[in-house]
């Protein structure tokens, strides 16, 4: 079946511009996560959506970052007034959520470069 998809695969933007990154989770997965991997770093949790519950935004690094999930499916991560330190690979993951299903399945990521 189809896995997690993300678009665009690469994005180059000028400092100060806003960017939107999109994630399509696996069909039927109720939980959706955003992570980022900066150069030479491990993956860092950003935000978590579970069903219709309020998102867990505890990992967002600043108020320039926001995310929404429409209809319990597609999610968009928005970064306003981008800075060079925002350059990273942004990864989306989904999981079945609830019960004993803990495995998260990742998309290929969006490589963001802020010049």
């Amino acid at each position: 079946g189809a896995g997690v998809s993300q678009s665009p695969s690469n994005k180059v933007t000028e400092k100060g511009k806003d960017v939107e990154l999109r994630c399509d989770p696996i069909s039927g997965h109720t939980a959706l996560y955003w992570y980022r991997q900066s150069l030479g770093q491990g993956l860092e949790f950003l935000i978590y959506f579970q069903g219709n519950s309020a998102p867990d935004k505890s990992g967002l690094p600043s108020d320039r970052f926001s995310a929404e999930r429409t209809g319990g499916s597609v999610s968009t991560l928005t970064i306003q007034r981008t800075q060079q330190e925002d350059s990273a690979v942004y990864l989306c993951a989904s999981s079945l959520g609830g019960g004993s299903s803990y495995e998260q399945y990742f998309g290929p990521g969006t490589r963001l470069t802020v010049t």
Binding site: G42, E44, S58, L91, A93, S100, Y102, E103
Partner: protein, 113 residues
């Protein structure tokens, strides 16, 4: 403060031999652990996981061992194959919470033919 640590950034192993990748954690609240494999320009791929109520889980060539008292886990790959060459990430979560993963920094495994 790194809660999940992979102290070896790289490991080289001969084809057919055993690869052992190590991971340490500091947060005693973690109760579920996962290993992911990552190729360049791809997202991480789930490999194997283990609950804190177990000390071993096996899936084909992959076995994960958990030592809770030492807060240490390891991934064994045997026999190693050239296609196993990738970056391996250890991850941990608190299963009862939001379940976000805390990742280690990764170990680059190279399997030499």
């Amino acid at each position: 403060d790194q809660q999940v640590k992979q102290n070896s950034p790289s490991l080289s192993v001969q084809e057919g031999r055993i690869s052992i990748l190590n991971c340490d954690y500091t947060n005693s609240m973690f109760d579920y652990f996962l290993w992911y494999k990552k190729y360049p320009a791809e997202g991480p791929t789930f490999l194997i996981s283990i609950s804190s109520i177990k000390d071993k889980n096996e899936d084909g060539r992959f076995t994960v061992f958990l030592n809770k008292s030492a807060k240490h886990l390891s991934l064994h790959i045997v026999p190693s194959q050239p296609g196993d060459s990738a970056v391996y990430f250890c991850a941990a979560m608190r299963a009862g919470s939001a379940r976000q993963l805390t990742f280690g920094s990764g170990t680059q495994l190279t399997v030499l033919p």
